[in-house]
């Protein structure tokens, strides 16, 4: 950690066994702990159900966030409603906390652009970003706009550790440093970029230390400890809001699932490694802590499990009953005013759809 430039030292608050490391800061109250737990259980239930939908042919390719629920949850709870969130594609928990319904998230992976039509606090949020690390530069642009206008807001962007190998990541981070942008970068270091492990992704000891060269603060936290993630993001967001620049947070976690539903991780990593990682996953440890702190009991657990299952089933029902996007939408949302040649093509597309037996 000698490389990282930070006064921030709260790496971990609840360890893998559910024990408190030191003491919890004031920002972590019971309400927050319970909300974190409920959110993570909901997201895991959702995640497993979406994988099952894919396996039964009712869903497109899906990128699971199994084991990384704490990162999205911590971000979602710490981010303010006026801030702008720029996700990559394992941010189900953050999007859920920014009021993007579960059925709408299913719709994205199910292949319908309407899934990106956000409202409420997510109104200005970016949609998922598949081209790796490109969103980091957009986040710098969003933060630049906020800085130019003198607003007390920030952008928060996520990416995987693989993304930190790309120029976009470095270029954006460099700008955050030199322009003192109100921006938070959270790297979900889940150890695997598809088949490429962390140790051959970069020769740097940590991802966090990459911040040093950009002249911004950077540090690691236990990404499976929702309290640590929450507190770190809260710290970075507050800093950004108060005009003190950007932060790089490396949230250390593990991708317990395959890269996507079409991937098969047994091709390139060992069962032993995955089994070891399961011992550090985020939900069990918080559950243990809550039980030990008398904040949670078996009855509440039963009720929560039942509740999550019902919510997810309701979302599945809604998702499956949603019509496919209208064919006209292919053309209607390309320009504010549809050019003449596209209007003609739209006509052809509608005729073709009629021939195919659609609407």
């Amino acid at each position: 950690m000698q490389y990282t430039k930070t006064p921030y030292q709260q790496k971990q608050m609840i360890d893998a066994n559910g024990a408190v490391v030191g003491s919890l800061p004031e920002s972590i109250n019971d309400e927050l702990l319970l909300k974190s737990y409920r959110t993570m259980v909901m997201i895991r239930t959702f995640d497993q159900r979406v994988v099952a939908l894919q396996r039964t042919g009712q869903m497109g390719t899906y990128a699971s966030c199994l084991g990384q629920e704490a990162i999205g949850t911590g971000i979602g709870l710490a981010l303010k409603k006026d801030d702008v969130f720029l996700p990559y594609y394992r941010d189900q928990a953050t999007q859920y906390l920014r009021d993007i319904p579960l059925h709408q998230q299913m719709q994205y992976w199910g292949g319908n652009e309407w899934a990106n039509h956000f409202s409420g606090i997510a109104q200005q949020d970016f949609p998922n970003c598949v081209p790796i690390a490109t969103q980091v530069t957009h986040a710098a642009g969003v933060a630049s706009a906020m800085k130019i206008r003198g607003e007390k807001r920030c952008s928060l962007v996520t990416c995987g550790e693989g993304a930190t190998s790309r120029g976009d990541f470095y270029e954006a981070m460099n700008l955050v440093g030199v322009w003192q942008l109100p921006m938070v970068m959270v790297v979900n270091n889940n150890q695997w970029a598809i088949s490429v492990p962390r140790n051959i992704q970069t020769g740097a000891e940590t991802i966090a230390q990459k911040a040093v060269a950009a002249g911004i603060e950077g540090f690691q936290v236990d990404g499976n400890d929702v309290c640590a993630v929450y507190d770190a993001v809260r710290y970075a967001v507050n800093k950004a809001h108060s005009g003190k620049g950007g932060t790089l947070i490396e949230a250390v976690s593990y991708r317990l699932g395959d890269h996507t539903t079409a991937d098969d991780a047994t091709r390139y990593r060992s069962h032993e490694e995955v089994n070891e990682a399961w011992k550090r996953e985020p939900i069990k440890r918080l559950q243990t802590y809550l039980h030990a702190s008398d904040l949670w009991n078996e009855g509440q657990e039963q009720t929560l499990q039942e509740h999550c299952k019902q919510e997810v089933e309701q979302a599945v029902k809604t998702y499956l009953s949603q019509p496919a996007q209208p064919v006209a939408d292919l053309f209607d949302y390309l320009f504010e005013e549809t050019p003449a040649h596209l209007a003609l093509q739209k006509q052809r597309a509608l005729e073709k759809m009629a021939r195919l037996g659609g609407e």
């Binding site: 239930t45 497993q48 996507t260 089994n275």
Partner: protein, 370 residues
């Protein structure tokens, strides 16, 4: 399957602790056989083997936690089904396979095979109802011009639709044009006194016999000349092509070996040929291989002609319409019947002397009494 993964044991439980393995690597198991007991938060569950097979490996020891969807054990020799992608779904091939057939590049040399005309000319042709395939272009690279189309339209308007040549007439057009372009033709004429012939003399038969005899005297005229290889072949057998006029065009059936056949036989043969041509039942084989040709146009009209020599033959004899002329018999002036003859030969390989001697031999034969 290669890997058997911990199934969902119900109630959304995500993990189970291994209580006891009932099998070990190397064991043969059968479907339904209990292989492992695991303890969930609720109960101890016995898990049966999903298929027959030999166990390659067991993952996890007693007391270990295993999560739903993680491999419990591996079967020997099974292929892991590979999705072959990281997103989406790949369509798999059937087992059917074959070697692909293709041509690298184009099987053709570039060159026009449809009439050359600009779209504007095509539109004009369409408007004027002109078939572009029936006219030839006068422009650069034989491109059809608007003048060509308008001329064709005017001709059609004034004179009616031109008919495309077909069949016999089409091949006559091609063969004659080719022969005319290639052969260096010379024609010599003479008349032979046939006053002594009987009234019902078979003129064609006499001509056939005369040619046969002349070929004996001057064999070089019964020959094939192949100009592409510069080869000349004198042929012993006389296969005589006889030009026959029909409404469809010119037919030239071949009367075989005329030098050795009896008169009656020849007459029969000739009648057969005429009949076959008339009925259009003559096979193509009966119209090829002639060594010399006779054209007896005199049965209709015309005294002299300059018949076309069709390669590879080198000579053709034309017989005109018999006419009367006054002759001095030495005793008195008398009116005699004459048969006018026109012999064309290919001067590339036949000398004037050879041709003249041939014609003389023909005339001598015709002069004889039957």
């Amino acid at each position: 399957m290669k890997y058997f993964k911990l199934p969902d044991l119900g109630e959304g439980l995500q993990e189970a602790e291994i209580v006891e393995w009932h099998i070990q690597p190397g064991d043969q198991v059968s479907t339904g056989q209990i292989i492992i007991s695991v303890e969930t938060a609720k109960a101890i569950v016995d898990i049966p083997a999903p298929q027959d097979g030999v166990i390659a490996a067991c993952f996890g020891d007693e007391g270990d936690l295993i999560h739903t969807g993680e491999p419990l054990l591996e079967f020997v020799g099974e292929q892991q089904e590979d999705s072959g992608t990281v997103v989406g779904k790949m369509e798999s091939a059937s087992e059917h396979s074959e070697r692909e057939q293709f041509v690298i590049g184009s099987p053709y040399r570039p060159g026009p095979t449809v009439p050359l005309a600009t779209p504007a000319i095509r539109a004009l042709a369409k408007r004027l109802n002109v078939d572009l395939s029936k006219i030839s272009g006068s422009g650069n690279h034989h491109m059809i011009t608007s003048d060509d189309v308008e001329r064709a339209a005017r001709l059609t308007q004034d004179l009616g639709e031109a008919q495309s040549l077909k069949g016999v007439r089409r091949s006559m057009a091609r063969n004659m044009a080719k022969a005319h372009a290639e052969v260096v033709r010379v024609t010599i004429n003479d008349d032979v006194d046939i006053d002594h012939w009987q009234a019902q003399e078979d003129i064609t038969l006499r001509l056939v016999r005369a040619i046969a005899n002349a070929c004996k005297q001057e064999p070089n005229l019964n020959a094939w000349y192949d100009s592409s290889n510069d080869t000349f072949r004198v042929i012993e057998k006389v296969d005589l092509g006889i030009a026959v006029d029909t409404p469809d065009g010119l037919f030239v059936p071949v009367l075989r070996d005329v030098a050795t056949r009896e008169t009656g036989d020849l007459r029969d043969g000739m009648n057969h040929l005429r009949q076959d041509v008339k009925n259009r039942t003559i096979p193509p084989s009966e119209m090829s291989g002639a060594t010399i040709t006779l054209s007896n146009y005199g049965t209709i009209a015309g005294r002299y002609g300059n018949p076309i020599v069709v390669p590879p033959m080198v000579a053709i004899l034309g017989a005109g319409k018999i006419y009367n002329n006054v002759v001095d018999t030495g005793i008195a002036f008398a009116s005699h019947r004459f048969l006018p003859l026109s012999l064309s030969f290919d001067h590339r390989v036949i000398t004037g002397g050879e041709a003249a001697r041939f014609l003389k031999a023909v005339m001598e034969d015709l002069s004889m009494s039957d």
